[in-house]
């Protein structure tokens, strides 16, 4: 799939030229099948944002439900504005500043792609919008780590800057055809749909933010009950559905690769949820709904980088492994006592790292053979593991360092952590002047 994007973007300048000199090259055409699936995928990925809003919104206390849902919707609004303006150019333009980030003035406001059809036979608008949804959900995931205690204004500025300074460069390195991680090793670092770009980058940032901003008032002494697990489960369900667009759409096609991605996504999500459920049954004698929801997410996160290269048996293994590691990570978090409130790091960071590294053991033989040819003879699992580890390591270091700088900067100027008084009143009242529910009982 990434090859397709690569080819697509490399040929792009030629296409533009082809348009101006009417006789050159075969006319690119739109394939209605591929385009319809990609349009559907784009809508499915957007569906994940309200899904995430519901998932996170249900997990906080009653007084913070609107504030928490607004973190997701805020990302939809803010990145929705930023992406067509700058984000696409920074992520998918040709590399500048030594390949640090992309830039193509023609992509500013998407003005240069009005007529552009990619070689994968979809209008470039579809690709740009599809990618835009990834850019929206990534900063929204971070919000889980500092739920119930940040200033909305500070949050808005943080995700805007984070999207430009952290997301776009990483996206460029991993997915742009001239990105250095895209070309690392024999056949590049494997990140089918965003293990590093989306989940590790946001998960690691979440951890840094939770550590820097400190715990919620009263954590962990006071129990903080989810206000509405019904909404959380509905949100987890929407995320699962939307993930088919997220992964199967990342093939930028409607063919065998799409079918493979969709199948392993389904298998891994189910395996993850199943494993989590079994662990809880063994440990506590009861399967909780939040456990099932967490397992679904762990499985989905782990398969995200791997959806293009593993087979269903690998998907089983990755989903199960992710649930076991994430479950352990959350136990460790409780021991250490830092307040990653909704486990943004525990699920997305840890699950993403597990998926991006462990996938090498389940890569289909055909892919390895192809990589061996490109490497000029042999290419082993361990060499690919080295490439994966490099991509993961670089993402972790870059995201954590730059995020910390951004956090300090915003905390010292606009302010990110809210006052104790506002925190006790709840975000809904103090940040938005609203309340989420009418007459539903308190918790």
């Amino acid at each position: 799939m990434r090859k397709r994007i690569a080819a697509a973007l490399l040929v792009l300048p030629l296409l533009v030229q082809a348009h101006s000199t009417a006789w050159a090259a075969p006319e690119p055409y739109t394939d209605s099948g591929t385009t319809s699936w990609m349009l559907t995928s784009t809508a499915l990925v957007l569906l994940m944002i309200p899904g995430l809003a519901m998932f996170y919104g249900g997990l906080v206390r009653t007084k913070n439900v609107i504030g928490t849902m607004m973190h997701s919707f805020g990302a939809m609004v803010i990145i929705g504005v930023l992406w067509p303006m700058l984000g696409y150019a920074l992520s998918f333009g040709p590399g500048v500043l030594g390949g640090f980030v992309g830039w193509n003035p023609d992509y500013f406001m998407l003005q240069g792609i009005d007529e552009s059809i990619l070689p994968s036979h979809i209008p470039e608008y579809v690709f740009a919008m599809f990618q835009g949804k990834f850019a929206i959900i990534t900063p929204a995931l971070i919000a889980g780590a500092f739920a119930e205690r940040v200033n909305f204004r500070g949050y808005a500025v943080f995700i805007a800057l984070w999207s430009i300074i952290v997301y776009s460069p990483i996206c460029h390195w991993v997915w742009a055809p001239d990105g250095f991680l895209f070309n690392l090793g024999a056949a590049g670092a494997i990140d089918f749909a965003g293990g590093t770009v989306v989940h590790i980058s946001s998960g690691v940032t979440a951890l840094v933010a939770a550590l820097y901003l400190g715990s919620r008032r009263g954590y962990p002494r006071n129990v903080m009950h989810p206000n509405n697990l019904v909404m959380t489960l509905t949100g987890a369900g929407l995320l699962w559905v939307g993930w088919f667009g997220f992964n199967a759409g990342s093939a930028i096609a409607s063919d065998l690769a799409t079918a493979r991605a969709l199948t392993v996504t389904q298998v891994s999500a189910a395996a993850g949820a199943f494993t989590w459920m079994v662990i809880e049954m063994l440990q506590h004698g009861k399967a909780t709904s939040l456990g099932v929801a967490s397992g679904i997410l762990a499985g989905l996160v782990a398969i995200t980088p791997a959806a293009g290269v593993v087979q269903p048996s690998g998907a089983f293994a990755l989903g199960a492994l992710a649930s076991m590691v994430c479950y352990t990570a959350i136990l460790v978090k409780n021991k250490l006592g830092y307040d990653d409130s909704l486990d943004a790091f525990g699920v997305h960071g840890v699950g993403g790292i597990v998926g991006a590294l462990a996938l090498v053991f389940f890569v289909r033989p055909g892919w390895m053979a192809e990589a061996a040819v490109k490497a000029g003879g042999s290419w082993t699992v361990w060499q690919q593991l080295g490439v994966q580890a490099a991509a993961v390591g670089i993402t972790i270091v870059y995201a954590s360092v730059v995020s910390l700088i951004l956090l300090v900067l915003i905390e010292k100027t606009i302010g990110l952590r809210i006052s104790e008084n506002d925190e006790m009143s709840g975000l809904d009242h103090s940040m938005h002047g609203e309340h989420g529910y009418g007459l539903i009982n308190l918790n």
Partner: protein, 113 residues
């Protein structure tokens, strides 16, 4: 024995609850209620007379022995007030309490509180 009923603003619940716990008053009942207070005036929009919605409030019920009444009331007043003072901070009602029974032990009166 007295029954203290406080109607307060929802955003002050945590403040009041924590202040009461600090003052060692831990047996309370909290419910979400709605009602009209001073903000009852009817508005007119485009010639339509609009009765305002019921306003959400928090009701706290605390049964106390006589010697705790003043301390409880002071604590609530202190922690439920907005700064600066605003309409809608709520009210406190104190009523005599005839009897109190702990169901588990059948204890009655002041010991059961």
């Amino acid at each position: 024995m007295k029954l203290i009923t406080a109607i307060i603003n929802p955003d002050r619940l945590d403040h009041v609850r924590e202040a009461l716990i600090q003052a060692d008053i831990t047996r309370i009942t909290v419910s979400r209620v709605t009602g009209h207070g001073r903000q009852e005036d009817i508005d007119i929009y485009r010639g339509q007379r609009i009765a305002p919605n019921l306003i959400p409030k928090i009701r706290i019920d605390i049964a106390v022995n006589e010697e705790f009444v003043d301390m409880t009331v002071d604590t609530i007043i202190e922690s439920a007030s907005h700064d600066p003072v605003a309409i809608g901070d709520g009210k406190i009602f104190i009523t005599p309490l005839e009897e109190c029974i702990r169901i588990r032990t059948r204890e009655r009166g002041g010991r059961a509180i």
